[in-house]
């Protein structure tokens, strides 16, 4: 059977089978006491889904639109199948929810506690992460510009910056809580320190990225320092800067959440995670993690979109 035929036949079949298994597993007769027949069905579905995905990923399409669609659908279907397995195994085998809640119960908990999640999101993301991220990135950028102007400072700061970025910076969280209090400024301070050094290192590297030829050209235009900085070196540094922005988007969220483990007012994603874990309300913890994942991916995605718009000239985006 060719890859195309296999994909065409098996993909809808496997999807239908998974849907059937999902409906089946939530019946009271099956949930928690699924028999061997059910597990055989799941195993068959597993094989079918694997074959279907294999067929899909070996498809050779001429149409670029269809190719993109298939390229996107393979990971999406794979992820959906993983969630299906999670749901079916947890519900079918009756895994207690203090060990592992099913995706459906996490989703219903997510929908039921939207106000709480919104408050946590505002506290952790809008206040701590965003303000810390802005201050950290901007100051890292500013110091990088200064360090680039003064070679002595650059040679002194860069090795230190590289050294610091290998350190567990997150450990300063208790100190920041002591200095800036329990509320969001202390978390923002942790985020500032965590995001500062990646920005510094990447910007300095980016400012050095302009080639000799381009610099000579600017020189022959009699361009001064500022002109060549703004017209040549900053644009060339943009991919590096965006790289730092992307690294920092994840670091900032991690920093804010972990800093909340060290003491917070009674709101915030890290606070909710630590308190609900202690109460063994794992569905709430997973809902909070889902929120963190959505926030993190959206943050990253927005930066990636801005990057695309700003560095459209870069070889990696040219088609």
């Amino acid at each position: 059977m060719s890859a195309a035929r296999r994909a065409m036949i098996l993909t809808p079949l496997a999807a239908l089978g998974c849907l059937y298994a999902l409906i089946l597993v939530h019946r009271p007769a099956v949930a928690g006491q699924a028999g061997p027949a059910f597990w055989i069905l799941v195993a068959v579905l597993w094989v079918a889904a694997g074959l279907a995905l294999g067929g899909l990923s070996h498809l050779r399409l001429r149409n670029p639109g269809a190719r993109r669609l298939v390229g996107l659908s393979v990971p999406v279907l794979f992820g959906a199948f993983l969630f299906f397995l999670w749901e079916v195994i947890v519900v079918g085998a009756g895994v207690p929810s203090v060990l592992m809640p099913a995706p459906s119960s996490i989703a219903s908990r997510f929908a039921a506690s939207l106000p709480v999640l919104r408050d946590d999101f505002v506290q952790t993301f809008m206040k701590s992460v965003l303000s810390g991220y802005m201050i950290g990135c901007l100051s890292g950028f500013a110091v990088a510009i200064i360090a680039d102007r003064i070679p002595f400072l650059r040679r002194g700061l860069l090795p230190l910056g590289n050294f610091v970025s290998a350190l567990p910076v997150i450990g300063i969280a208790p100190i920041m809580v002591m200095w800036f209090g329990f509320d969001w400024p202390s978390k923002a301070a942790v985020v500032v320190v965590m995001t500062f050094f990646p920005m510094l290192i990447n910007t300095v590297a980016g400012l050095a990225a302009a080639g000799r030829l381009e610099r000579d050209l600017m020189h022959s235009y009699a361009a001064g320092y500022w002109t060549s900085l703004i017209k040549l070196r900053l644009p060339v540094a943009l991919p590096f800067i965006f790289n730092a922005l992307k690294i920092n988007s994840t670091l900032a969220l991690i920093g804010a959440i972990v800093a909340e483990f060290f003491g917070t007012p009674i709101v915030g994603m890290g606070f909710r995670i630590s308190i609900e874990v202690a109460r063994m309300a794992l569905d709430m913890v997973w809902a909070e993690i889902a929120l963190a994942a959505i926030a993190g991916s959206a943050f990253y995605g927005i930066i990636a979109l801005v990057e695309r718009a700003a560095t459209f000239w870069h070889p990696s985006y040219r088609t």
């Binding site: 294999g54 794979f78 650059r154 230190l160 050294f163 350190l167 002591m178 988007s249 993690i289």
Partner: protein, 309 residues
């Protein structure tokens, strides 16, 4: 010829200042010195209020000089001075027996062991995943996007769940922390390994084909050696975040043992010097781990005949 003759004397003139300032050593020393000086100034400034308040409460009149000295010798300062941290490090590392819970080496060892176990597990997982990904196209198309997007979510938030869930089914101690570390550090290894294993260019792969080498032979003789520089770049990142994972993994269990526990206990009881000492311990641990990986990299490179760049 003429241009060379013209530029040479200028270059020599530039090289005149001592060699120290040519490299990075001099500037780094100056910056470190500046940080230490700033630290002392900040310590005096931040502790000033607390000291004057304490003297006022005691009803004592002190001169500025005495207050100045007192700011550097508080028991629970806002910001301890560097020498206080060094004294605390000496006290908790050398002066107490190694087996004692008050010894920082004991806690450092707890953290280090779970870091190393997690690092080993994560590296193994990372390398195996990378090898699978470059050989099975389905996995590359379906798994790779998920591995990459898994990095946009704050994975460390899952740490408490892993600790508590594994704890409730009876697995405690080293292993859950190691899992967090492994989870954090498989990613850079997988990514760099995939990059490294696919780094041999078409010419080299064609050469292997003209030798009629099998897939396995190509893997062992070409792809794997070519991937080693990338692997070590990944390992250096991985060992650093493996330590972060181990430290954060120690937080939810409520300060039993380890550097993370020292941080948490210090923040509960306001023992700032203890927190800073634990931080310094973690920093020393991190930098020596990275240094060891770099050393391994250099040894492997030399044995494979790579010239220092």
């Amino acid at each position: 010829m003429t241009t060379e003759a013209l530029t040479l004397p200028v270059r020599q003139a530039r090289q005149k200042p001592s060699r120290l300032w040519q490299g990075n050593t001099g500037p780094v020393l100056v910056v470190v010195l500046a940080v230490v000086v700033l630290w002392y100034v900040a310590a005096i400034a931040m502790n000033w209020q607390g000291v004057t308040d304490a003297f006022e409460r005691a009803g004592e009149q002190r001169s500025t000089g005495e207050i100045l000295l007192a700011t550097l010798e508080q028991e629970r300062p806002m910001l301890p001075a560097p020498h206080q941290i060094l004294i605390e490090l000496k006290k908790t590392v050398i002066d107490t027996p190694v087996t004692s819970r008050r010894n920082l080496l004991f806690h450092g060892w707890v953290t280090l062991s779970s870091t190393l176990l997690g690092f080993a597990l994560g590296s193994l997982l990372g390398v195996v995943l990378a090898v699978l990904i470059i050989h099975v196209k389905t996995l590359e198309r379906s798994l790779m996007p998920w591995i990459i997007s898994s990095q946009t979510i704050p994975i460390l938030a899952i740490a408490p769940i892993i600790i508590v869930v594994l704890g409730s089914i009876g697995i405690t101690g080293l292993f859950p922390k190691a899992i967090i570390s492994a989870y954090l550090c498989f990613f850079p290894i997988t990514i760099s390994m995939v990059k490294g294993l696919t780094s041999p260019d078409i010419m080299q792969r064609d050469l292997m084909r003209t030798y009629s080498a099998s897939r396995t032979q190509t893997f062992w003789k070409l792809r794997l050696p070519a991937s080693l520089p990338y692997l070590f770049a990944g390992l250096k990142v991985a060992i650093a975040i493996s330590l972060v994972g181990a430290i954060v993994g120690e937080l939810p269990t409520g300060a039993q043992a380890g550097l993370g526990a020292r941080l948490l206990a210090g923040s509960y009881y306001g023992q700032t010097i203890q927190i800073w000492a634990a931080l310094f311990g973690a920093a020393i641990l991190a930098s020596s781990l990275v240094a060891i990986v770099s050393l391994g990299e250099r040894i492997v490179n030399r044995r494979m005949g790579v010239r220092a760049a």
